[in-house]
Subunit: 246 residues, 2 copies
DNA sequence: CAGTGGTCTAGACCACTGC
DNA sequence: CAGTGGTCTAGACCACTGC
């Protein structure tokens, strides 16, 4: 009954073996070769099929379980999840998400300042003495339609930001290019109604629903690099995610 | 410079060793024994200190990285994240969240039906022929204040639901008690403005902001057990989460 | 170059499930 | 009871970082 894996493993590839397995199983699920609800062989058998050790096979399975593609039960086995799975909510930027979706995002920089931080922002970013911030607001549109109003603060010791740079590129892209490796973000999603100013910029009626998001992002040295408050048109944007039981 | 770990490891405990380490480090971070931004010893040294193998130590570290408490960098080392971390968005229920927060949630069951599913719901839950659904709406309040309006559909072959049961217990608790092991959920968070009906029940002005959430939950056999649409008062509720770079 | 985390192996023993 | 995933060990070799 269980489906055998037909995954090419390239031991000379720089891609880790467990990740080749992850990609292979993801591909088989996407292509339909592994049907929703179908059962996999036990992990010892699968490891043998692919000439891998059991820990390596397990590491691949663990990742797929965390991604929400497989479910496992001790004493029973491993199954492909019987429902369509959305992409896991990742640490990504709006600009990248839009670009990946084939859209052409456009950005208008509404304000841009550089200087010392207000106490509240200094506290949020835990700024050391002498470190200032860039503070700017942007309006992001897709196909001429306004989508998001974004206010952000960025430590000024991680990169040099300019108004022109922010108009032409996503903020995360600029920071990554400057050598910032983002590791995690704390974020809060809520709702609000548009005030007159927001309504005019986002081209909706005052009183329309907005999805609000506050985020602070941390890099691989543990520093809080960036914090921001965003408002999205609720008719054009929502946050999708897959939660996995720990 | 690096802080030594002072964690009791009990090899006779049913709690896995790696999880004892996770709990120990979490505790040291919470108590301040491990300061934000401080560096840990390398993992081989830490494993030796606790008399554990390196893979076991690594498994604990991996979990803490995923939880957003540690950041690691190859060739450099491991650090405690320098910012306050919120709890990871988990697969949990509103009722449990409120109860954990020391609140006393109250539920009013506004409607309750049992029968065949509408085609859209049957599709969402991928119901097999002959399986019906419970369909109900609830108003959840905390300290007499309305917080959420919830409409849910539950497969009728996983548990027997009653109006009284739903009034006195959280839905997830009832399902877990009936033997359902939830594994993952797909959810979408957005915003809306309250219509007259919602406004009256939630005791806000019509036109107030609401946080909306749609969710479908999957159990350990891969079945979609439950789907629902919820609306929360935006002035009292938001979704917090920590995203970790994959 | 020394130090760090990342990957991988070949085992062992155990807990849980369903018959 | 047989079958499954869960935990754990003691190594090995490698890639990357910062000096």
């Amino acid at each position: 009954m269980a489906t055998a894996l037909n995954i090419p493993i390239d031991r000379s590839s720089p891609v880790p073996l467990y990740h080749q397995v992850v990609q292979g199983i993801e591909g088989m699920i996407r292509s339909g070769a592994l049907e929703p609800g179908s059962k996999l062989e036990n992990e010892i058998e699968l490891a043998a099929q692919l000439n891998l050790s059991r820990p390596t096979m397990r590491k691949a399975m663990d990742e797929l379980v965390r991604a929400g593609l497989l479910v496992r039960k001790r004493g029973v086995g491993t199954q492909v999840v019987a429902s369509q799975v959305r992409r896991h909510l990742e640490l990504s930027s709006l600009f990248d998400d839009l670009a990946r979706g084939g859209k052409a995002p456009a950005t208008r920089v509404l304000s841009f300042r550089h200087g010392p931080a207000e106490p509240e922002i200094a506290e949020t970013l835990q700024l050391p003495p002498g470190v200032g911030v860039y503070h700017f607001t942007r309006l992001r549109s897709v196909d001429e339609k306004p989508l998001a109003l974004m206010e952000n603060w960025v430590r000024d010791d991680v990169a040099e930001l300019t108004e022109v740079g922010l108009r032409d590129h996503g903020m995360y892209q600029i920071l990554r290019d400057a050598g910032v490796n983002f590791r995690l973000a704390n974020q809060r999603i809520g709702a609000a109604v548009a005030d007159a100013h927001q309504a005019e910029l986002l081209e909706v009626a005052a009183g329309s629903a907005l999805v609000t998001m506050e985020r602070t992002a941390v890099d691989d040295t543990g520093r809080s690099v960036e914090t921001g408050r965003h408002a999205y048109r609720a008719d054009s944007y929502s946050f999708e995610m897959t939660l996995v039981q720990r």
